[in-house]
Symmetry: C2
Subunit: 354 residues, 2 copies
């Protein structure tokens, strides 16, 4: 039983905490929060032991009626591994604290790659050896790695070119923008996202151009991959449909965007309406010569959550990768499989070249 | 055991269906859908019997792999009451079909008041007598009625004046607007919302001015109520805090808008992140002389759901209203009560007049 702490019970942290609590081989020892807001209250409601992330704020929690079980130091003394879910940049600052406790740590993709011994994606990255810390790559890099790894294995990737239309902020982030623009961000091309993918898939050539848009629900990727061979469209659809962390949206479902996707996630009972899988519009998958095209959406709040669980096992146990992924998928219920007639099968597109 | 059918498994219908299924004195016989899209699939996944809302579309469902249990006529033959959750205006057209089956019907607020024998809100409307049909008033009218009824009872309402900043569309409605404007809608003032409130609260004077904004999560109401007496701010906060279908958002929770509200709803385990209660910013509640001011948010997808359950009981049983409301609240888990220190108590505002 691996004793796990989550430092930072925010957008990612609360989801990682729920996922840890659902694992048969893990114990969620506790979570930290910097302030006694509604998120802290929710942690208590769920029965999680709450710790103050910042020592001198214990009083603030007590005043709000949420007496913490201790501070971050107390939590670190009680765990085998800490998952850092602090805001971007704070993880690097927390590194020394974790080191002082000799506590293995997992960081998020908002940190630079050198924060940890290795970067991680369960589908794409290699053996982590004797790493004492791992960094789960960002939501966008996770989405791209899951897609590019099977394509490279099956057909060889000559070059991937991806436009990332990123959400401006999460649903509760009222201080983010843009309100009414699509902003090149960064305007320099290629963006840093391609190199981030290379931290887990070093041999796949990928250039990315990134924008941000006035939406909060999901990122949207417009993907082109020039392959080394010429598979048929139907074959690629079948390959991607067989990946457990890719969900092919059947055309007949009439899901036209992130709103309907989240609605569907809630309909099928997903907690928080979370979509842990990449969501690929099945009819968008098209091969023209050696050029593959598709649209996919990535739920920035959720897709890294199963990767964190697999990272915990990679860091602290000898459980083989595939076994970990299968267990994570089973416990969380990952692997949407539409009941709609076209959902489970592979259709040839109208203008198929095969 | 009341046998209930839901005609129209959309935004409201799927929520009403879930709520019916959770009642100990009701049986959900089945739901209808016009097309075999993702919503229809989700109904099957939940184990609900699916009926084709339109007779000649049975083939379409079968082609999509979702064989229906029958048509609307078949469903009507099997139920004691039908809840019409069809799009606005279709309910009126369905009326003759329900009449031909002698099936008592409940309509939604998108229909004109004359669609049913009486309009309904569990907190505000009077005894429904021997009505054979009821119309649950709209989400906005539901939100206003729940607020104005206790204020009128306790202090007398001389006049209420409310600006409704309505959401442009639901999260999955990608064909709605505005994208980047706040639109008077209708530009005529007062709007029809006040008279709609009067269908359940005939003796409360209320003028409304309505806008729509580029948001999808909730409606926002800026409320002024001139009272006949001069209660203190603290007293009004206490009165409203005691209402089970009003949730007073504690200031310390740091919930600043609909995004954080929906986030909180998901945090506390609400299905679909639903907020069945009016959400009133506690610190906004302020009395100046006889003028009460406050901001409240109303979740347009959810607040009418418990009202539909109570309407079913009002139409088909002799269960007293209060007993019905208590049972609905208990089975759904209505009545958010913050654990935060300020949440359950009444604070005097900084510039209180009492």
């Amino acid at each position: 039983m691996t004793r796990v702490g989550v430092n930072g019970y925010g957008t990612i942290g609360k989801r990682v905490a729920d996922a840890v609590a659902a694992q048969p081989d893990m114990e969620l020892v506790g979570v930290t929060k910097a302030s006694p807001n509604y998120g802290a209250e929710a942690a208590i409601r769920r029965g999680y032991d709450l710790y103050a992330a910042i020592d001198d704020r214990v009083d603030e929690f007590e005043t709000a009626g949420l007496t913490p079980s201790g501070t971050l130091d107390d939590l670190l003394r009680a765990v085998d591994v800490i998952v850092d879910c602090a805001p971007s940049g704070i993880g690097a600052r927390n590194r020394a604290i974790y080191a002082s406790h000799d506590t293995p740590a997992i960081y998020q993709g908002g940190e630079d790659a050198d924060v940890a011994d290795a970067s991680f994606n369960a589908r794409a990255s290699g053996d982590v050896g004797d790493a004492d810390s791992l960094r789960v790559v960002s939501c966008n890099s996770t989405g791209l790695s899951r897609l590019l790894a099977p394509l490279d294995e099956a057909y060889g990737v000559e070059k991937a070119r991806v436009t990332l239309v990123r959400r401006g902020g999460d649903p509760s982030e009222t201080d983010r923008g843009p309100i009414n623009d699509v902003v090149p961000d960064p305007a320099t091309v290629p963006s840093h996202h391609g190199p981030d993918v290379n931290t887990v898939l070093p041999n796949v050539a990928v250039d990315t151009a990134a924008l941000k848009a006035p939406v909060t629900a999901m990122h949207t990727h417009s993907v082109n991959v020039t392959l080394e061979t010429e598979p048929s469209t139907a074959t690629v659809r079948r390959l991607l449909g067989d990946e457990t962390r890719l969900f092919l949206i059947p055309e007949v479902a009439n899901i036209d965007g992130a709103g309907a996707l989240k609605d569907y996630a809630a309909d099928v009972g997903r907690p928080r309406g979370d979509l842990w899988e990449n969501c690929v519009w099945e009819e968008s998958i098209s091969v023209q010569g050696r050029d593959l095209y598709l649209f996919q959406n990535v739920h920035q709040e959720a897709d890294v959550v199963p990767e964190n669980i697999d990272a915990i096992r990679a860091l602290t146990t000898d459980i083989p990768r595939e076994e970990s992924v299968a267990l994570t998928n089973e416990t969380l219920g990952i692997g949407l499989d539409s009941l709609l007639a076209d959902g489970g099968t592979v259709r040839d597109p109208v203008a198929a070249d095969d």
